[in-house]
Amino acid sequence: MKKKLIEALNEKAKAIERLADGEQRSAEAQAELRMPQGCTTIFDTGWETNPRPTYPVGNCQASARDFHGCVGDCWWPAQMPDGLTNHRDFDEQCPNVARDWRKLKYD
């Protein structure tokens, strides 16, 4: 039996598991989808997660400065609008994230 890699800890997660009870495989990927590629040519994520020991540590500073760069190419799609498929005109409603973020209307 395949080892269970993640475990539901809270009620919402357990409810999702109950929804999936008895579910059979209904679809299968026909190809290895890599669209778009990761944040660099090899590793995902990229070197924004830089290893420096001093300020600024880690990701881009401020994160707003990296917002459009990620949106446009569909990086971090769980955290940002997906500019390649679902939010292609994102730049029109929010060309300057630090100034225009209140105008955001995406889900």
Binding site: Q30, Q37, Y55, Q61, L84
Partner: protein, 339 residues
């Protein structure tokens, strides 16, 4: 009957095009933004023009006569920008035949009519998703229509044209050399990068800004390097840097090509002769994608990412001026116009 005065606007437009002055001499910097490209005069460091453009800018290439710059947006639109009049004069869409394409990598061909792009594609057929094979393709600049293509491995993110366009270098997990001289494009060599642990984000190469040398930083688990590609000869110079890596999105060459400047969270001088690092200062405005340098080597321009463009003194690395741009940006490109 057509009256003369009804033709006057069209006649005036034709004369205007014919008499369009060349762009003023000197350095011009192009802040590639969102819905707008802003032009900065290199003498006064002021914004002298706004060029409205549809979409999120990404890549750019310039015609040999420096009259036009082609800029890609939203990974599928290609805009022709008249550099004398500072406006978009035409736009082509590479998604025009039922395929939804995204383009990572763009260079102009030498024929003046076509360009090359690195494409991934998708469409639906009978309700099912169909994913096309990744290709590097030549397409018409006026229409976006694909002329010919060659299949490449997944992950191609950037192109550099070399040897008068006879060869295209496609940067992906490895580096693929594509011969364009025959009827069919074909991969003639693969230079390993993946097995060497080379990790590259090759979106900023400054080939035309550097005068025909593409410059891209890369990383391995143990060191940082700078890859230089001579567009005239196709020669690749792989410079391994000694010391603690400086994290950088992009690297531009100083005019003497003995130094380079790298940016991400810092502005760092790279000594290309001794293959090591020089001075480094944090970027006060924050993370930036793009960097450029004046033709006399005295000023450094840092922008892209957020909506600022900072001008630095190249000798002291102190900021001289911060320009507030209309939009966030992807890059800062430089074109030197001659008198």
């Amino acid at each position: 009957m057509i009256r003369l005065h009804s033709l006057l606007p069209a006649l005036a437009a034709v004369l205007c095009v014919a008499a369009a002055p060349p762009a003023a001499a000197g350095d011009r910097y192009y802040h590639l933004g969102y819905g707008v490209i802003q032009v900065i005069d290199g003498d006064t460091d002021t914004i002298v023009a706004d060029i409205p453009i549809k979409g999120a800018t990404r890549e750019a290439d310039v015609t040999p006569d420096r009259k036009f710059m082609y800029v890609t947006t939203n990974r599928h639109l290609v805009h022709k920008v008249d550099l004398a009049r500072n406006r978009v004069v035409s736009t082509a869409d590479v998604s025009n035949d039922g395929w939804d394409r995204v383009m990572f990598g763009f260079v102009l061909a030498q024929d003046g009519r076509t360009g090359y792009g690195g494409f991934m594609s998708r469409r639906t057929q009978n309700g099912e998703a169909v994913v096309g094979k990744p290709v590097v393709a030549q397409f018409e600049l006026d229409t976006g229509k694909i002329v010919r293509s060659v299949e490449v491995p997944w992950g191609v993110a950037h192109l550099v044209g070399v040897r008068d366009g006879k060869e295209i270098l496609a940067f992906g997990q490895d580096l693929y050399k594509i011969d364009t001289t025959g009827a069919d494009m074909r991969i003639v060599a693969t230079i390993p990068m993946f097995d060497r642990g080379v990790n590259m984000l090759p979106f900023w190469d400054y080939a035309f800004d550097n005068g025909g040398i593409a410059s891209m930083p890369y990383y391995t688990p143990t060191y940082m390097g700078v890859m230089l590609v001579d567009q005239r000869t196709g020669a690749i110079d792989d410079i391994v840097l000694k010391g603690e890596p400086a994290m950088a999105y992009s690297v531009v060459l100083a005019p003497d090509r003995k130094q380079a400047y790298a940016v991400m969270d810092d502005l760092t001088v790279i000594d290309l002769v001794n293959k090591t690092y020089g001075a480094s200062v944090p970027l006060g405005e924050g993370t930036s994608y793009g960097v450029n340098v004046s033709s006399d080597g005295k000023k450094i321009y840092v922008g892209g990412g957020g909506s600022t463009l900072t001008v630095f003194d190249a000798r002291t690395l102190k900021p001289i001026k911060v320009l507030q741009m209309t939009s966030d940006g992807m890059d800062v490109r430089k074109i030197r116009f001659q008198k």
